[in-house]
């Protein structure tokens, strides 16, 4: 790791990274930001559920069973079963995998791509910056859901395509945030110093400026993760999201669920709660991280 000039406030340090006593920092974070800690716990729970879905399930999530159609929550089916006799609990557990994978993948893809665009655009400046900004404006001007809808229709329903479709609206938002961060860092002394020493621009961009955008980047990711999960749910609800047989929380809320809602409310209740919980957790965590990492960003 490149040595850091002392005395300069680097956002990453506030989180306790790259410093001994990371656990101490974590404990401090939990104490200072209990809501954020709860958010983090929720996300961790969901992550673990997704990772150990196969172990946690009680039934094969796609196995149908006519005899168990619309079973009430109980000993046999912890959260009940749907009209095809599929176990809701197992589907929610596997749905975590889908929602998290799609949410994380699309958020990372969008944020990284957008981040690189924002980084280069902000650093280079000038005409490149101007043009890139207009292109970003174009992408951002198109309503998020509409964009994802058209992309999804264009690409066809499959997990990689849904990831791409959802990541595209994220790119301009990521670019904007990173660019703003870059603009403020660019003028800092140590960057001037690096340039004076004669380091190549690209090197400066990636080795000095980039690490300092990690704070805003993390905040951006957690904020967008919630929105990505919601967009995936909406797409699945409209029939264009993650296809069968992968259980998706959004698709579990589709028309069939509304059909049986009065007879078997657990069909509608649990997937909705799952989505809300995931987005809620990521938002709580994101808020707390933002407060901790850069007080200046609180107003952004």
């Amino acid at each position: 790791m490149a040595t850091r000039p002392l005395g300069v406030e680097v956002p990453g340090v506030a989180l306790g990274l790259r410093r001994p006593g990371a656990w101490g920092a974590l404990a401090r974070f939990c104490r200072k930001k209990p809501l954020g800690a709860i958010g983090g716990a929720i996300m961790l729970l969901i992550l673990l559920t997704a990772m150990f879905a196969n172990q946690l399930q009680t039934y094969d999530p796609i196995a149908t069973d006519a005899a168990q159609s619309l079973a009430r929550p109980g000993a046999e089916h912890w959260l009940g079963s749907d009209h095809l006799g599929r176990d809701i609990y197992s589907r929610i557990v596997h749905g975590a995998r889908v929602s998290l994978v799609v949410g994380l993948a699309s958020t990372l893809l969008g944020s990284v791509l957008g981040g690189i665009i924002g980084l280069l655009s902000g650093y280079v400046g000038g005409m490149t910056d101007l043009i890139t900004q207009r292109v970003m404006d174009i992408l951002q001007g198109l309503p998020l859901l509409v964009l994802a809808l058209v992309m999804s229709a264009a690409l066809g329903p499959s997990i990689p395509n849904v990831v791409i479709a959802i990541s595209i609206p994220i790119i301009p938002r990521a670019a904007r945030v990173i660019r703003a961060s870059v603009l403020s860092i660019r003028e800092m002394q140590y960057v001037e110093a690096a340039r004076a020493v004669g380091l190549r621009h690209l090197r400066i961009a990636f080795r000095h400026v980039l690490p300092n955008t990690i704070g805003p980047f993390i905040v951006l990711c957690t904020a967008q993760l919630g929105s990505a999960i919601l967009v995936e749910a909406a797409l699945s609800f409209l029939g264009l999201g993650v296809p069968e047989p992968y259980p998706s929380w959004g698709r579990m809320l589709s028309v069939s669920a509304a059909e049986y809602a009065q007879k078997a409310p657990w069909l509608v209740l649990f997937p909705g709660l799952a989505i809300s919980l995931a987005v809620f957790g990521s938002n709580l965590l994101g808020d707390a991280l933002r407060d901790t990492l850069d007080p200046r960003l609180r107003g952004a």
Binding site: L70, H83, G239, S254, V255, S256, A261
Partner: protein
């Protein structure tokens, strides 16, 4: 026409008028509910906005036919006050009398003389000839349809003759008793000859009991009473509104809350009906057949489904009764390619079904499926992998998911591909799929319509591209059979044959739990969703 033939025709027409078939005046009194009262308005459920306006001849969907019924009339129609759709229940609308001639080779209609189009023009035989020459794409047809799904219904019509303004004669190439029934379908209304057929995509000039007042796109379709309707004393109602609600949950809620008086045919499942009845015990719910079936299409032109053993294995693997329990929650019935009794006339009886693939004991059926797959060269070490396509609509996806799970149990690994509506028919017609979960609605319970559309060689809607000389012969044979009993037997054999060939295995026939508020009187749902809803005999009771 030679002088001789002209005389012959005149004589036959004369005889026909004397011995004409059922010559019922179309006004039927509603069966129940008391004395009809005049006036009032009804809000009727409409599942989605009109696809191509009121151009019934250019679409094949209930979404067009249901809200168009009040605007049009047919030559003949199924009695709107009786549930069953049989030849005995045919009544005349624009035709006063009709008669088969020359051993079912000529069909003569004597038309009413007092009918006016909604724009005041008189209705004559010219309109009938215009409509059906257009639909059958006669060589000198005066107009052409942009999209023509039912051309094949009239492939046996040689010529349509109009000897005078109130007589029409359909000359057929060979006897076809089924033609009369096809003309009674909601898909066979009469267009006006003096109006551009394209205009039906944006408006409606018909002869029916209601006149189109306004079609507010995406919102509703408003009708007002036709004061000049040829049936005196009808309609009873002053106005109708078909309310467009796309969201299923909202639709049902609107019906429950009383903002809709009548449900949409085929839309009310058993579960929804149970919930509705529980919430509003006074609702009138009538379980009826729909003449809509779920089936599996398989591309018979490409491996692996070019092998009949593999197709048969698929049919054996699917437990029909379990599918009905889960996907339809019991709101469907098992049957072969014609709608089963008591909902249909031609369908195989319950006792004949167990001999067909998929209807016997599930364990036995699945074992049979595995055996067939083994014979075809597949095994647990070399499993059959396929891609199942279906439309990206919840009901289809559920059906496909269930079927995939059934196939898994006999060693067929299937993945699901959801296809957007825009893609489905082009994909299916071009044969760009392996196996698909499909839904087919029959405009009328008539074997000619069904088999020519879905099983005949080269028919665009024969998505499986199934082609069998033997089956074609059987279709022709039953079409010409004049003796009803003999014809029933022929159609039964035909049903067994296509199920054994697993050309397009039928999974179930859907039921509809047609729902109305109790103040709606005189509306009788049929065992077919496309052929009722004229609304002329419907009245609203004061509460």
């Amino acid at each position: 026409m030679t002088r001789f033939s002209r005389i012959a025709l005149a004589m036959s027409l004369g005889l026909a008028m004397v011995f004409a078939g059922p010559a019922l005046a179309p006004a039927q009194s509603p069966k129940s509910g008391g004395t009809p009262k005049y006036g009032g308005h009804l809000n009727i459920m409409q599942r989605e906005d009109l696809a191509q306006g009121f151009a019934v001849h250019e679409t094949s969907t209930i979404a067009t036919s249901w809200p168009s019924m009040p605007c049009f009339n047919n030559l003949v129609v199924f009695d709107q006050t009786k549930r069953a759709e049989t030849v005995d229940n045919l009544v005349g609308e624009l035709a006063e009398k009709w008669s088969w001639q020359d051993n079912y080779r000529n069909l003569v209609f004597f038309l009413r003389k007092d009918v006016k189009w909604h724009d005041g023009q008189p209705f004559t035989s010219k309109d009938v000839k215009f409509t059906f020459d257009m639909v059958r794409e006669a060589p000198n047809a005066p107009a052409k349809l942009r999209i023509n799904p039912r051309k094949d219904w009239y492939s046996n019509v040689e010529d349509i003759e109009t000897p005078d303004p109130y007589t029409v004669v359909f000359h057929l190439k060979r006897p076809q008793p089924g033609l009369l029934v096809m003309l009674a379908s909601g898909y066979s209304p009469i267009y006006a000859a003096h109006v551009n057929p394209a205009s039906y995509r944006t408006g409606c000039i018909g002869t029916g009991p209601f006149k189109l007042k306004e079609w507010r796109k995406g919102e509703f379709i408003d009708y007002v009473k036709n004061p000049d309707y040829f049936v005196k004393g009808r309609p009873y109602l002053d106005s109708l509104r078909y309310v467009v609600i796309k969201e299923r949950g909202t639709r049902t809620a609107a019906l429950q809350a009383g903002q809709l008086d009548v449900s949409f045919p085929g839309e009310t499942t058993k579960t929804a009906a149970e919930q509705l009845k529980k919430a509003v015990p006074g609702l009138v719910i009538t379980p009826v057949g729909t003449t809509v079936n779920d089936n599996i299409i398989m591309n018979t032109k490409k491996p692996p489904f070019d092998n009949p053993k593999v197709r048969l294995a698929v049919s054996y693997a699917i437990d029909r009764r379990a599918l009905i329990t889960t996907v339809h929650q019991g709101g469907a019935v098992p049957g072969a390619s014609m709608q089963p009794k008591p909902y249909g006339v031609w369908g195989l009886a319950e006792k004949d079904l167990p001999s067909l693939p998929g209807y016997g004991k599930p364990a036995d059926m699945k074992a049979q499926a595995r055996k067939l797959l083994k014979e075809a060269g597949f095994s647990p070490e070399n499993p059959l992998r396929v891609e199942m396509s279906t439309r990206a609509i919840a009901m289809y996806v559920d059906m496909a998911s269930f079927v995939i799970n059934e196939l898994k149990q006999v060693g067929i690994e299937a993945t699901l591909k959801q296809v957007e509506t825009a893609q489905w028919h082009p994909m299916a017609t071009r044969g760009e799929y392996q196996i698909g979960a499909n839904l087919t609605g029959l405009g009328v319970d008539e074997p000619d319509a069904n088999y020519n559309e879905n099983y005949a060689c080269g028919s665009p809607r024969n998505y499986s591209q199934y082609c069998s000389e033997e089956v074609m012969k059987m279709i022709e044979q039953q079409s010409q059979e004049l003796d009803v009993k003999k014809r029933l037997a022929l159609v039964a054999r035909l049903q067994k044959k296509v199920e054994d060939d697993a050309a397009r295995p039928v999974l179930d026939w859907r039921l509809d739990y047609f729902t109305m508020w109790p103040h709606v009187k005189g509306l009788v749902p049929h065992d077919n969703i496309y052929n009722f809803g004229r609304m002329a005999d419907v009245w609203r009771d004061r509460q």
